[in-house]
């Protein structure tokens, strides 16, 4: 798994629960280091061990942690750069949803060896969508649920999200998206020319 993803887990635990808890997680996961390097590749098994350790140390189910990571990535000031990059996807929340198909390509343009799971948006009606995530590792659907929830707030849209349970032999996860109102609240501004700190 790419260092950026591992680093995301680390930043989430550190910024949300404090450094000590993160150190505890690394110890429990059997890592012989504390910090993931964002620009290096790591064995998938490490990420798996870290997520299990997170669930144990924080006393929260793994799915919840994944969703919280998604929310964190869009809403925490420490990772403002990522929110901005995602907002380039579209002017409105619906436009953003339609840009998700190309998210893995966008990611690869930025960081050549970053491989995101494939994503496909299906439009069932004007306000009902589903996002199918295909990844080598299960759980990405939950991360996307957190991302979508936070970005809906960011755009000021009112949505209902549900991650559909998949039979464990299926290599994909589905997030159902119901859009009640695309301009429910003010949302956060997105200034093209601003530079993320």
């Amino acid at each position: 798994m790419h260092g950026l993803m591992n680093r995301a887990i680390q930043s989430f635990v550190r910024d949300t629960y404090g450094r000590d808890r993160w150190v505890e997680v690394t110890r429990l996961a059997g890592l012989d280091f504390i910090n993931f390097e964002a620009m290096l590749q790591y064995d998938d098994a490490l990420t798996d061990a870290v997520l299990d350790a997170c669930a144990q140390v924080l006393g929260v189910p793994r799915e919840t942690i994944l969703e919280d990571i998604g929310t964190y990535l869009v809403s925490h000031p420490n990772v403002e750069a990522l929110r901005r990059l995602l907002r380039f996807g579209g002017e409105t929340f619906v436009e953003f949803l339609h840009s998700l198909d190309e998210l893995p390509d966008r990611a690869r343009l930025a960081v050549e060896d970053l491989r995101l799971p494939g994503m496909e948006l299906r439009e069932h009606s004007l306000n009902r969508f589903s996002l199918v995530c295909r990844g080598s590792q299960p759980g990405f659907g939950h991360v996307m649920m957190g991302v979508l929830r936070a970005l809906a707030d960011d755009y000021g849209a009112l949505v209902f999200l549900e991650c559909r349970d998949q039979p464990s032999d299926q290599p994909f996860e589905t997030v159902d998206i119901t859009l009640f109102e695309s301009a429910f609240a003010e949302g956060r501004s997105f200034d093209l020319g601003a530079v993320a700190g």
């Binding site: 950026l4 964002a38 620009m39 290096l40 750069a81 380039f88 002017e91 343009l109 930025a110 020319g193």
Partner: protein, 346 residues
């Protein structure tokens, strides 16, 4: 013009930074984004040249001259602050009665987006500017992450080098390793002979043939030293052209003399480097752990240094064994490695 309305609509949709001019250069219509560049300024009905200065291919101020450049790449500058640089291209029709100039930002786009608070709606749907802004931002973030990684790796490398026991140029032990090994040997009460050695005329090789030649000489000397010593001995490079050898066991003065003679003769053999011959020699100072009851590392190093100095004073390419009458304090002015080198013995 047959269908101006449709034409304007088409241009508004496809090229929001266009301007339509009449035969004299008066603005008939301007795209929304272009108008954003000149807030509070009326464009329609006024001369295009009032607001925009043509820089290339030449500074034009007449419409006739500008029309002659139809299809060519234009470079323009907006009047009034900020004086944004734009690029454009002109197309003329109806016998020059109508001209359309489409403009874009070129490399000024990053500033322009900020200066004019542009949003993605200000660019045509097919325009790649938004993708480019995304790329610039994404690449900057990725670059920053890589830069931080490089800094950390650099720090780790320096730390590792400091902790290392090997001289990276020659592969010999370094000062740190020498100090550790010497302390360990003395603590264990092992008999040893310590040799301080430095190269004669090394500086002139460096000066004459450059540092690459100097490095090559040091590597050659290192190889000779390794070949002439045993596995249980320790060979260290402790300075530019300074070496220290720890030779295990007792050594009779005759053996020291033959050891020194062998080293000197091998090191004096010309060392070829890129068609040139590097000629150096070496001086050696010996001391033995048996000179005192419980010698310290500093004592031994100082004694060997005094012997080395005595050898140098006798005319280089020599060796000396420390004797208590030798002064341990080296006169600073005449340090052997400093002054001009006497000619190499034939």
């Amino acid at each position: 013009m047959s269908h101006p309305h449709e034409l304007y609509e088409l241009l508004d949709l496809f090229c929001p930074m266009h301007v339509v001019l009449d035969h004299e250069g008066r603005v008939l219509h301007a795209g929304d984004t272009l108008r954003k560049l000149l807030p509070g300024t009326a464009l329609v009905g006024y001369s295009f040249f009032d607001q925009f200065e043509i820089l290339r291919p030449r500074a034009f101020t007449s419409m006739t001259a500008l029309r002659a450049e139809a299809g060519k790449r234009l470079r323009l500058r907006k009047q009034g602050t900020p004086r944004t640089i734009l690029k454009g291209v002109l197309y003329s029709f109806e016998n020059g009665r109508i001209s359309v100039i489409n403009l874009s930002f070129g490399f000024s786009v990053l500033d322009a987006v900020r200066d004019y608070a542009l949003t993605s709606a200000d660019f045509a749907a097919t325009d790649l500017t938004i993708e480019m802004l995304y790329l610039v931002e994404a690449k900057s973030a990725a670059m920053e992450a890589s830069r931080k990684l490089n800094l950390r790796l650099q720090g780790a490398k320096i730390a590792a080098e400091e902790q290392a026991f090997t001289d990276t140029l020659t592969g010999l032990k370094n000062r740190r390793a020498l100090d550790t090994i010497l302390a360990r040997w003395l603590q264990a009460g092992r008999a040893l002979t310590l040799v301080q050695m430095d190269l004669d005329f090394f500086k002139s090789v460096n000066d004459r043939l450059g540092h690459a030649a100097g490095d090559h000489v040091l590597q050659t000397v290192a190889r000779i030293l390794v070949e002439e010593t045993r596995d249980e001995d320790c060979v260290a490079r402790v300075g530019g052209d300074e070496f220290v050898l720890l030779l295990a066991g007792r050594m009779a003065p005759e053996k020291m003399a033959s050891f020194a003679a062998r080293l000197i003769s091998r090191i004096e053999a010309p060392i070829p480097f890129k068609g040139e011959a590097c000629r150096i020699s070496t001086s050696l100072g010996f001391t033995r752990s048996s000179v005192a009851d419980d010698p310290s590392a500093e004592d031994l190093l100082e004694q060997a240094d005094a012997a080395l100095y005595a050898a140098k004073r006798q005319g280089r390419a020599q060796h000396k064994v420390y004797a208590p009458k030798m002064s341990l304090v080296l006169p600073q002015e005449n340090k052997p490695s400093g002054g001009p080198a006497p000619p190499l013995p034939p």
